[in-house]
Amino acid sequence: MNRQEIADANRRRYEELRAAGQGSTAKALPAPTALDGAPVAAGAVIAREVVPYGWYHTVRLKRGEALRIVDDTGRSSVSLIGWCAHDTSERINCADTVKVQWSAVLSKGRVILTDMGRVFLSVIEDTSGAHDLLMGGSTAASTLAVYGEVGRNTHDNFLAAASKLGLSLADIPPCVTFFAPVSLDKEGRFVWTAARKRAGDFVDLRAEADLLLVVSNCAHPLDPARPAAGGAVTLLHHRAPVPAADDPCRTTSPEIARAFVFTDRLHAGDGP
């Protein structure tokens, strides 16, 4: 093939992938979990932690374990970053998560990717579907701008938690924030939709490698509510059901199926 023929072939493949990822042939994602759905059996619980407003917590998840994050009051947002235990330079990557799934929306059936073409976390349960991958968490500067004084914030929480793991500022990647209903209007401006938050909303995140996760319970910078209104969140570390062959998270698209092949290969001892 000459240069033009290669370019034409690559464009055809791109348009086919786009149609499969977004268009009429896209596989339907599972419906959201009901607020009273997906109970965790008492015997599956490994640990439970209540994180007060403004604070953070670090969780070590083994591959196959899950972290349930519950917005008990419907007034919290929870920002999350994390690293792979086998190599902390492999970590959560929000840009690849959005780009590879052709969507900035995270919901049940979606995954969060690492920077190494592998799956970091699978969203196996989710009552909300209103999460933010683009704008990030609060910082000293953002609390000063919004509240007129520097308050507890996600950036400082991440820094403290990372430091206690032997990591530092350079290790802190862009974050995902759960229960943060951020979307864009037609002009590309960020919009907050408070009506999409409910008391008891939760996500279940299944670890696809041994992970170090940090969660921060601070108001999202777009949330018009003030920190005084913030509530505690509950973390439930539990053993997730073993994924079936047709596990929704593993089969949404050819891209994600490949990401799981590469992930499984690493754990079979055959990967970089």
């Binding site: 240069r3 290669i6 370019a7 034409d8 690559n10 464009r11 493949r13 791109y14 992938l17 786009r18 977004q22 902390t88 330079s89 970590r91 990557n93 929000c94 840009a95 690849d96 959005v98 780009k99 590879v100 052709w102 969507s103 900035a104 929306v105 990717l113 920077d115 190494m116 073409g117 592998r118 683009l134 704008m135 990030g136 968490g137 910082t139 500067a141 953002s142 950036h155 530092s168 500022l169 350079a170 290790d171 802190i172 990647p173 862009p174 974050c175 979307s183 864009l184 209007d185 037609k186 002009e187 590309g188 401006r189 960020f190 910078p221 891209e255 994600i256 490949r258 990401a259 590469f262």
Partner: protein, 212 residues
């Protein structure tokens, strides 16, 4: 818009970055760097680090939060992970730049386009090589700027790299507000429309701050 543009004849530095190659330089506070998309439709991935303390670096999420909107253009202040203004976009003849899609990598190419694309050159390879000159490494690579890359994000969340809108000769000017290590990868991606499926050279110009 774009008032008092510097004259290319006054530039203190001019360099053509070949297709698919990286480039970097320390941009002093007050200096202006112009990227010219010489042949059009060429994405240029860029990262900025505080020269004094490179752990402070460009943050896409902080930049978008401060701006309140999702695309980079004239007037966008480039914010660090410590909340400081590193630089500002002071001219832009293209009008659409991304900072949410990250850079291409061998590993993500294999996921997106198939394992047969794993051994194609990628922006992250460029970034790693260029960052090594400053003692930086893979972990220092964060969500970057993608100049001249057209990535509309719909109200539905649909997120797509589409054909670039930059015409031959389109440019973007970035004026430094602190001394920064300015690193670019002239994107080698051939599997999506960000480079028109045909990577091409770009030109870098630098001006000193205008004297009073």
């Amino acid at each position: 818009m774009n008032q008092l543009l510097p004259d290319p004849a006054d530039a203190v530095y001019v360099h053509d970055v070949p297709a698919e190659r990286p480039w970097s330089k320390i941009l002093k506070r007050g200096q202006t760097l112009r990227l010219i998309d010489t042949e059009g439709q060429q994405a240029v991935d860029a990262l900025l680090y505080c020269a004094e303390n490179p752990a402070e670096r460009y943050s896409a999420q902080d930049t978008l939060r401060v701006q309140g909107s999702a695309y980079v253009g004239l007037g966008t202040r480039l914010i660090s992970n410590k909340g400081r203004v590193m630089a500002e976009v002071t001219a832009d003849s293209c009008g659409q730049h991304d900072t949410s899609a990250g850079c291409c990598a061998c590993e993500s190419n294999a996921v997106r386009f198939g394992e047969e694309t794993k051994y194609q050159h990628a922006c992250r390879e460029n970034f790693i090589l260029e960052l090594s000159r400053y003692g930086l490494a893979k972990r220092d690579i964060v969500s970057n700027l993608n100049f001249f890359m057209n990535v509309p994000i719909e109200p539905s969340g649909e997120f797509t790299v589409v054909d670039g809108i930059s015409a031959p000769g389109n440019y973007v000017d970035v004026t430094a507000e602190m001394d920064v290590i300015f690193v670019i990868s002239n994107c080698p991606q051939i599997n999506n429309p960000c480079n028109g499926f045909n990577p091409t050279p770009v030109r870098v110009l630098i001006w000193d701050p205008p004297t009073a």
